[in-house]
Symmetry: none
């Protein structure tokens, strides 16, 4: 079964909102093995909508429409589909009653155009809207299935999950399951990673392997299809083992995680506390750490030593260190990590100093970054990075490298 | 000129990401009066991409492609377009040099497939990629214009704004100008603001007024159309004056600015330095301050006093203050602001303490926030907020309220 998602709404074409319904539905359909080959966005214009329906019918068996079911003149999805399919629109009494009840309850005046929302395509099955007024519907005609869903995600998502999904599963006559797992890598470029698993990518059938890169990270999504969940899991496990064999050194976690989440998890597991001293990252490491509820269990606090004054007065960095080596140096990074660790009596201290740009600093090029880590027990470590990209990218990647560097040293 | 945006990438059809590039480009095109009638998303499949190019050519003069310019086998946008248009792909020496320099600089291994990124359609003009490796390009052939942009938003957005936009304006031969100005408001809800300018919104023709709300801020975009820039500016000025008359108390800046940028601007203009002490915001205020190049001229540094230990040891908050009033208190906020100001000898100190959630703290409900400000000259101030929303929203809004509160006190 091949699907196309048609989003109807001029606000999408004006760039006021992104087509997040397309993302949501695609993810749901992928999970039950329905291939989505196209998304189309069209404005509130009946002729253009009609033309995209014709194109969709030529290349998909299952067409989902989102948006254009509301009360205003702009809302013309079901009217256009009705005309195209030669169907009438009829009142759904259940929906009409629900709409009337809504207005009675909220004490608002029900205008005539609100009734329009209770119109459905004749012979369609209604998908109830538990979070709004316009019902959805599903209709199969000449081997094509049409599903109409409301535009607001707050209405669309529960409608699809509660009613649409079930109706779709009934229409699918196969039992095939789809399972997937996302492997996350850091410290390796997308192209180098792909080169290392080139033969696996070339020969993929079941499971499939899909790489995706962003913000210095690379993910591989392994997707297996089979009637049995056990066999899906086994297929994924075999491919995962082979991938880990090649690039496991760069792996840091699977599915919905992030480097900072992994770091909090590992620190928590070891009962270790952390303190931070940040220069070029300006507090980003600490800000990200504290986005996680419960971070207070591992994170004690830290200093943003953006100026030399702050390094001397707050962090107690020795003047000799700064005059001999500069603040963009291994020595300064180590002293920052050690001092913040001591000041807050934490198990580990981490520091970030470097040149985010746009200008050079201490004759060091933009992208030069030092990350220091100091442990209550054991030696301090420092890592030098030469990052590229914009000021924002250098800061983001510094934080990620810091998490990764510390994670590696925690697991030793 | 009618446009269609074609996003290429299976990750969009699998629901891993939303087509935010479509939103970004649509917004940009709308602002210069180019009608976008369709968005299409297609996977990394040459035949299907070819079919959508043919459809797009039948209904648009200007086709923008996003994605599929990278180094891997999946990336086939330019190869498919080249075949479709009967054009060769040729190496762009400038792009090739930039790619080689990138690998030399970062000390990473350059694989052969990276060279592929320097291939461009023959006769196309290159749009330089200042934030990545794959260059964009623009080509006009038989009355159709094709623009190819990379998929990652961090590369696409600056490329379009810096190079693509200008090339597009050169191609537009129409005389009508479109000018717009965005007014930014903080501290007033969208519906209240709209109520106050209801009659202006009802009767808008030229200029138009478009409200947009997000993250506690409301913006109004005023857009005027006319052949003459002077008349556009005059039309905008008249509407702006009327709006400011109604809701000017909540206005903080226009066009591409933000509360944090305005704060840096005002501090710079006054030659004032700032230091910060943050608890619930975890460093977010300082992180945002330091996103701005040159923030070092006003920002000295600060402390993230996430735990009571950090408040005592780093910030020197008196134990009596904490035991008598707690850390979520006016007294603690003021002492935090005063102490960080003194420790860094700054002209102003700002502090954030409160309950971001998900749990209550010191019997204070989630959303209770105190912001302290301390000046070298004059009295310290404190403001109590009762914010609603998620943990992330409470933190973001605390920072915005802090900027706004300090801005108001600077301008006194």
């Amino acid at each position: 079964m091949n699907a196309e998602i048609i989003a109807v709404g001029s606000e999408l074409l004006l760039g006021q909102i992104a087509n997040t319904n397309g993302k949501f539905l695609s993810k749901q359909l992928a999970e039950i093995g329905i291939n989505v080959y196209f998304h189309t966005v069209v404005g509130d214009n009946s002729d253009r909508l009609q033309s995209v329906i014709e194109i969709a019918e030529s290349r998909a068996d299952f067409i989902i429409f989102t948006g254009g079911l509301g009360p205003t003149k702009d809302d013309l999805t079901k009217e256009t589909i009705a005309r195209h399919l030669g169907k009438n629109l009829v009142f759904d009494n259940h929906a009409l009653t629900a709409i009337q009840a809504y207005f009675t309850k909220t004490g608002r005046e029900m205008t005539e155009n609100n009734k329009k929302q209770a119109l459905i395509l004749e012979h369609a099955d209604v998908l109830a809207n538990d979070h709004g007024m316009a019902p959805g519907m599903i209709l199969t005609l000449k081997d094509k299935t049409y599903m109409l869903l409301p535009g607001p995600p707050k209405e669309l998502e529960p409608m699809f999950l509660t009613y649409g999904y079930k109706r779709l599963m009934e229409k699918l006559d196969k039992q095939e399951r789809i399972e997937s797992k996302v492997l996350r890598f850091f410290g390796i470029g997308e192209s180098l990673l792909e080169t290392k698993i080139d033969d696996l990518l070339e020969n993929q059938t079941n499971p499939t392997i899909a790489p995706l890169a962003g913000d210095g990270e690379v993910t591989l999504r392994i997707t297996a299809k089979h009637e049995s969940k056990e066999i899906c899991d086994q297929l994924i496990g075999e491919t995962e083992a082979e991938i880990m064999n090649r690039v496991g050194d760069f792996y840091y976690g699977s599915d919905q995680t992030s480097l900072i989440k992994e770091l909090v998890k590992e620190l928590t597991a070891r009962g270790m506390s952390i303190a931070a001293a940040e220069s070029l990252t300006g507090g980003m490491f600490q800000e990200q750490l504290t986005t996680i509820p419960g971070a207070g269990k591992v994170f004690k606090g830290g200093i943003v030593s953006y100026t030399n004054d702050a390094k001397s007065n707050l962090l107690q960095i020795r003047d000799e260190t700064i005059s001999a080596y500069g603040v963009i140096s291994e020595q300064c990074a180590i002293e920052m990590a050690e001092n913040i660790r001591t000041q807050l009596d934490a198990d580990v201290g981490i520091s970030f100093t470097g040149v985010a740009g746009p200008d050079e600093q201490e004759d060091q090029p933009v992208g030069t970054v030092f990350i220091g880590i100091a442990f209550r027990k054991g030696h301090s470590k420092v890592k030098k990075l030469n990052l590229s990209g914009s000021r924002a990218q250098i800061r983001i990647r510094s934080v990620k490298y810091g998490c990764h560097y510390l994670l590696n040293h925690l697991s030793i």
